[in-house]
Structures are given as structure tokens and as C-alpha cells.
């Protein structure tokens, strides 16, 4: 009476894709790169679908899904009620049965209403089942502040997700990585939390960074989950950072190069797995480590990055410091918000201090 279907869908994906191919000349915004990655996987794999609040005709509040419903229709691009527990759980159940949901949590700040599904179910079922049940799901979510959205709509919180075992966490900073990581996330047999900073999407209605637009190959390709990237080579100071702070760090590095200060910038791109080898490799060149992180300072990513070096090669470090969000709810007034965000000015001061010049030099 029921259709014959595989009962234990351990997942397979299509043929291997190119890994980090040449970028070419065609330019996209980060938002469009994500849309393209999702659309391409939806075209080749009918188990992929998109679900979330305002992902349909609106196209995602931060344009992560623009154009998808026009191509794939409302049965594969599904607007949900404001019921994050129910629809994230629906993604989990569908993934267990062999589908590949891409589920959007509109703001990472909203995890409070649905975290049980995320960390107790999505992330743990594979382990609890002894590897017998896979949950190939992407949970994508907007993060970050800088536009006066207040304490409940401005947080990054990637350290919170990365702290809890069982979910991979990726945080692209640019269009190329966003497409490659989204493609890898959809094709992964593990749950992947894809955290995009609103400030790197290239949106017209938010302060736009020039690095939010960049060359992206038209073909599908993957950026491997778990691999950091040196986005600027240097010899004096290592900045380990991610997401929008990569853009700020590169701006600072360019400026200080004119003064003969050579800054290496490592874009983590993934938090889980964390590319600790790349961190140690960079610090072994420079000896000076600055972690720039828009997440809260204490008990989080910045301490983890430093611990990676201290545990493996404590003798390497001649200087270490952090430019993070201090442990305070993110303020509304712009003057207050920018007093706590990891701004280029704070990053520059940290580099000067690392070089022995002191904050005021």
C-alpha cells in the first residue's frame, strides 16, 4: 500500500564539483552568490527545498532567496508561519527522510525561540543514532549589527552555535566564498549552519562595503568546509578574523602597509571545523596575534583561537590581543553601537599596539 522507497537514506550527492576554481571576471554581490548557489543545487537535486519566513515573494529579508520562488514555485520555496520550532523541526524530519532542506532563521538572534530543535535535535541525531541517521540540512541565518537594529537584532552569536557539538558552522565574508560554502553546505551530509553577516550581502539599503561585490564563477563549485584562507599575506602581525571584520581588517592592512607595517589577514570562513593549522601557521610567521571578532568577547571564538595557538605552540606568541564586542547588549544609538563594534579604528589601534607603538602612536 505504500510506495517502495529506501528506508535508511544514507545520503549520496552528485559528481564532485570543482574546489575553489579561478574566480573569473563575472561579478556578483554576496546575496546574489548565495541565491545562485541555492538555485543551481535546486536544479540538479529535487530533494533540495527552501523554507523560512519571507523567503518566497519577498525573497528573504536580507535577499538570500531573491528570485527562487519565481523559478521553483511555492512547493519548493516555502513561506512559513512565524513558528521557528515547528519549521526548523520540519526541516530536520525532512532531512532524516532524505531531503535536503535549506531553512532560514531570519536573524540568528531568534535562536532563543527554537534552539532545542537546533542543538538537541539537528545537531545530535547523527551521534545519538551511532551514525545511522543523517541530517543533511542547511540552517542559514543573518547575523551582525552596525545599522542600529538594537540588542535583539544585531548579534552574531556564531560562537554559541560553534560551541555546541554536531553542527558545522560556516561564516563567509565575500561572494566567492558564500557561493562555494553554500554549495558545499547543501551537498554536505551533516547539518551546516550558514551565517551571513547582513553587512557583507551587498544590500543597497545598508552601509555597503566594496568587498561585498566580487568575481564569482558561474559554474557550481565548492569552498571546502573547515578551511581558512589567508586573504592578505604579511609578516609583522596576524589578524585572525571572519565575516564583515575581514573587510575592516583588510582596509586597515592596506592603510598600514603604507607605513611599512605588514599585516597578514586570515579569514576563518568556517568555525566548525576550525582550521587551527592555518591559525598556527600564520602566527608562526608573525609571532603577533590579534583576533578580531564581532561576537561577544568572553567565552567565545576569540578565546578559542588564542587557545589553539597556546595549546599547540605557546612559544610562538610575542603578542596577543582581541578586538571583539565587549560583553554588553548591543546598543541602539549609533554612537554607542560603534563604540562597541570592532571598527577599523579599533583594529588599527590594536595593530599599532602590537607593533609596540602604543594605542596613541
Amino acid at each position: 500500500m505504500t510506495a517502495a522507497l529506501p528506508t535508511a537514506p544514507l545520503h549520496t550527492v552528485g559528481p564532485n564539483l570543482a574546489v575553489e576554481p579561478d574566480a573569473g571576471t563575472r561579478k556578483l554581490s554576496t546575496a546574489k552568490a548565495m541565491q545562485e548557489a541555492i538555485a543551481q543545487q535546486m536544479r540538479t537535486d529535487d530533494s533540495v527545498f527552501v523554507m523560512g519566513e519571507d523567503v518566497g515573494p519577498y525573497g528573504g529579508i536580507f535577499s538570500s532567496t531573491t528570485g527562487l520562488i519565481e523559478e521553483f514555485g511555492p512547493t519548493r520555496v516555502i513561506d512559513t508561519p512565524i513558528s521557528e520550532t515547528a519549521f526548523i523541526g520540519t526541516g530536520i524530519g525532512a532531512a532524516i527522510e532524505g531531503m535536503r532542506p535549506v531553512v532560514e532563521l531570519m536573524f540568528s538572534d531568534f535562536f532563543g525561540v527554537c534552539m532545542d530543535q537546533i542543538y538537541n535535535h539537528m545537531a545530535k541525531i547523527h551521534y545519538e543514532s551511532g551514525g545511522n541517521v543523517q541530517v543533511p540540512m542547511v540552517l542559514m541565518t543573518a547575523t551582525g549589527g552596525g545599522y542600529s537594529d538594537g540588542a535583539q537584532h544585531s548579534q552574531t552569536l556564531w560562537g554559541t552555535f560553534a560551541h555546541l557539538p554536531g553542527m558545522k558552522v560556516v561564516v563567509p565574508s565575500n561572494p566567492y566564498d558564500a557561493k562555494g560554502l553554500m554549495t558545499a553546505a547543501i551537498r554536505s551530509n551533516d547539518p551546516v549552519v550558514f551565517m551571513f553577516h547582513k553587512g557583507v550581502m551587498g544590500l543597497g539599503w545598508m552601509k555597503k562595503n566594496r568587498r561585498s561585490i566580487g568575481a564569482v564563477p558561474e559554474e557550481p563549485y565548492e569552498v571546502p568546509i573547515g578551511k581558512a584562507k589567508v586573504v592578505r599575506e604579511g609578516t609583522d602581525v596576524t589578524i585572525v578574523t571572519l565575516s564583515l571584520s575581514v573587510h575592516h581588517s583588510l582596509d586597515v592592512a592596506e592603510k598600514l602597509a603604507e607605513e611599512g607595517i605588514s599585516v597578514e589577514v586570515l579569514d576563518l570562513r568556517s568555525l566548525v571545523p576550525l582550521d587551527r593549522d592555518a591559525i598556527v601557521a600564520s602566527v608562526s610567521k608573525t609571532g603577533r596575534l590579534i583576533v578580531v571578532d564581532e561576537d561577544y568577547q568572553s567565552f567565545g571564538l576569540s578565546g578559542e583561537v588564542i587557545a589553539s595557538v597556546v595549546e599547540r605552540a605557546p612559544g610562538l606568541l610575542t603578542h596577543v590581543s582581541r578586538v571583539c564586542l565587549p560583553d554588553v547588549p548591543i546598543p541602539y544609538a549609533s554612537q554607542l553601537e560603534y563604540a562597541v563594534l570592532p571598527t577599523p579604528a579599533r583594529i588599527e589601534a590594536a595593530v599599532r599596539e602590537a607593533m609596540g607603538g602604543g594605542v596613541a602612536s
Partner: protein, 335 residues
């Protein structure tokens, strides 16, 4: 029109057989659980460590549901999952090995008795109240999208009906006409808090109306009542007519978990008379459907299956501590 088969005598005996198997199983787990925990009570000691929530008294829910389900249907259970797992056809040996924390268990010893996952029968559990409902929606969603008539059953206790996840799930299931059946086991107690102190309505079944779905309450822990309510609901789901809500007034025969002295419990005097197992046995006997030797054969058969599963678990290797980090991810190393 009846959308499901009328009960035959064979089916009645089959439901009783399932109830006997469940009771035999829970009694054996009870025995093994307590075997090495004395003197006193050390929750982490013994061949079966940890919390243990047994389902004695709730057999009618499982037996009445089980007849309607195939291996391809899904079922999500709770922290008290053994009865529905057995009725769903989860492999007894592997389930028992998991409860014993062995490498041969359903989860290779990583899950435990509240976290049983069997992809062969699409069975899973959640130890968090009401949080097993949303994944059942997703399983139903996948079944629906693929054009099958498979259904997902989400089982939860009456305490779960006061959780947000319950209400979100009912709304979404009804909105999308998902092939889901929500089954609430009302055993009167949320650990130590009586239902009257937790729930604003006399019957959770009325909450179905808030979401535009049928709701029915089965009284008296009646296995045949469960069979009929579930038959209606599952047929409706298979036909594409959407979800239903069933509440069964059942019985927690023993404590919330083992080691629960139940000092709070005001209804204990009446419990023995409410035990569904002798009740249903007597009913079938009085109807001439069951003989004493039939029942003895049921007990013998159940005992054989259960002791075989216990022996299998005890003889199975424990997981190697060196492999404690395996299975965090399907792909790639841990960071």
C-alpha cells in the same frame, strides 16, 4: 464509512499479545535496571545506568496504534518510548543493546533509552517534552512531497500539550495538511504535578479545534478505543485530508522514572484496578475470544523474545572509549 478494518478476534488477540510483550519487556528492564543499584540507589550504577522511564500501563496506546502502521510510516516518541517502539516493530535485540549501552545497540551506545533511532522503521525519540513533534512534521512533509500515502505519528504526554512546540506543530501540520497524527498520552501526571494543576482544559482533544483538525479523547485506557480513533486518524492522513489529534486517558502504572517513590501520588489505591492488561485479558476471555492457554502461550512467547534480547545485550561488547568521538559528523574530522 469505516476507513479501516473492523477488529477481528485475531486482531484483538494480536493487540493483547503486543501488550503482553510490552509488559514483559518493561518488567525485564525493571529487573535488570535495579539489579546492581543496591544497597541504596545509585542512578549511574549497574548494567543499565541513567534515568529509566518505563511505560507499564500505557500499552493500549502502543498496541492500538501499531496495527495501523507499516514499517514505512514514521513515529516519534518521547522519553518513555519502549512501548511504542515495540509496537512499531523496532528490533528488540538492538533496542535492548542500546538501553544497555552496547556497541551493537541502535545508536552504538551513544543514545540510550531516551534516544532510540531506527531508520528501518522510521522510529525516533526525543527526550525533550513536545520537541519530537516538529521532526514528525518533517517526515510527513517528505512523505507528502513524494506522493506516498505514508504517515507520521507523533506521540507525546499530556504535559507536552502545554508546550509551545505542540501548538506550533499543530498549526503548521493543519496549515499544510500534513499526514500526521498527534497522539497525547494522558497518564494524569507530569512527574509529580497532576494534570488538574497544569492544564486549563478537561481534554486536550478539544485543542484540535483551535487548529481546525479533528480531536478525539479515548477514555478508560481502551485499546480498542485507541484502535478505532487511530484508524480514523491514520486513514484520514493517508487520504491527504491532514492531521488529527488523539488523546488517550492512560495510566502510569509505575513511577515517572525508576527510583521515584511517588510520595506525591494520591491515586495509587485505585491503580491496580485500572491496569489495562488484566482488564483486556478478562474482556477477551469473557467474550470467548481468549483461553487461559492462549494467554499462557502469549506470555511464554513474550518471555522468550524478551530474554533473548536481554541475553543479546548482555553478551554484546561495550563501546570502546577510544571511539567516544566517532559519529559527531557524517563527514570529515572534528575540529
Amino acid at each position: 464509512m469505516t476507513l479501516y478494518p473492523a477488529l477481528t478476534d485475531d486482531m484483538r488477540r494480536g493487540m493483547l499479545q503486543t501488550m503482553v510483550l510490552i509488559r514483559t519487556y518493561e518488567e525485564a528492564i525493571l529487573r535488570e535496571y535495579h539489579a546492581d543499584k543496591s544497597p541504596g540507589f545509585d542512578i549511574g550504577a549497574g548494567l543499565i545506568p541513567g534515568e529509566m522511564h518505563l511505560s507499564a500501563g500505557q500499552e493500549p496506546v502502543a498496541a492500538g496504534l501499531g496495527l495501523h502502521l507499516t514499517k514505512d510510516d514514521a513515529l516519534t516518541a518521547t522519553h518513555r518510548p519502549h512501548h511504542v517502539a515495540i509496537a512499531k516493530g523496532v528490533r528488540l535485540r538492538e533496542m535492548t543493546a542500546e538501553i544497555f549501552g552496547r556497541e551493537t545497540g541502535l545508536g552504538r551506545g551513544r543514545g540510550g533509552h531516551m534516544h532510540l533511532f531506527d531508520p528501518e522503521t522510521h522510529f525516533s525519540c526525543s527526550g525533550i517534552i513536545a520537541e519530537g513533534l516538529p521532526p514528525a512534521l518533517g517526515q510527513a512533509f517528505a512523505f507528502q512531497r513524494r506522493g506516498t500515502d505514508r504517515v507520521a505519528v507523533a506521540v507525546a504526554g499530556e504535559g507536552a500539550a502545554n508546550q509551545g512546540a505542540f501548538h506550533e506543530s499543530l498549526n503548521l501540520a493543519a496549515l499544510w495538511k500534513l499526514p500526521v497524527v498527534f497522539v497525547i498520552e494522558d497518564n494524569d501526571w507530569g512527574i509529580s504535578v497532576p494534570r488538574a494543576q497544569s492544564t486549563s482544559v478537561q481534554s486536550n482533544a478539544v485543542r484540535g479545534a483551535a487548529y481546525g483538525m479533528p480531536g478525539i479523547r479515548v477514555e478508560d485506557n481502551s485499546v480498542e478505543g485507541v484502535y478505532e480513533a487511530a484508524g480514523e486518524a491514520i486513514a484520514r492522513a493517508r487520504a491527504g485530508d491532514g492531521p488529527s489529534l488523539i488523546e488517550v486517558h492512560t495510566l502510569r502504572l509505575w513511577g515517572h522514572f525508576e527510583g521515584d517513590a511517588q510520595g506525591y501520588r494520591t491515586d495509587l489505591d485505585g491503580v491496580p484496578g485500572r491496569d489495562p492488561l488484566p482488564t483486556y485479558r478478562n474482556t477477551l476471555t469473557a467474550q470467548g475470544v481468549l483461553t487461559d492457554s492462549d494467554f499462557a502461550a502469549m506470555e511464554a512467547s513474550a518471555s522468550e523474545l524478551v530474554e533473548d534480547a536481554i541475553d543479546f545485550a548482555k553478551a554484546s561488547p561495550t563501546p570502546s572509549p577510544a571511539n567516544a568521538l566517532d559519529y559527531v559528523f557524517a563527514e570529515g574530522a572534528r575540529s
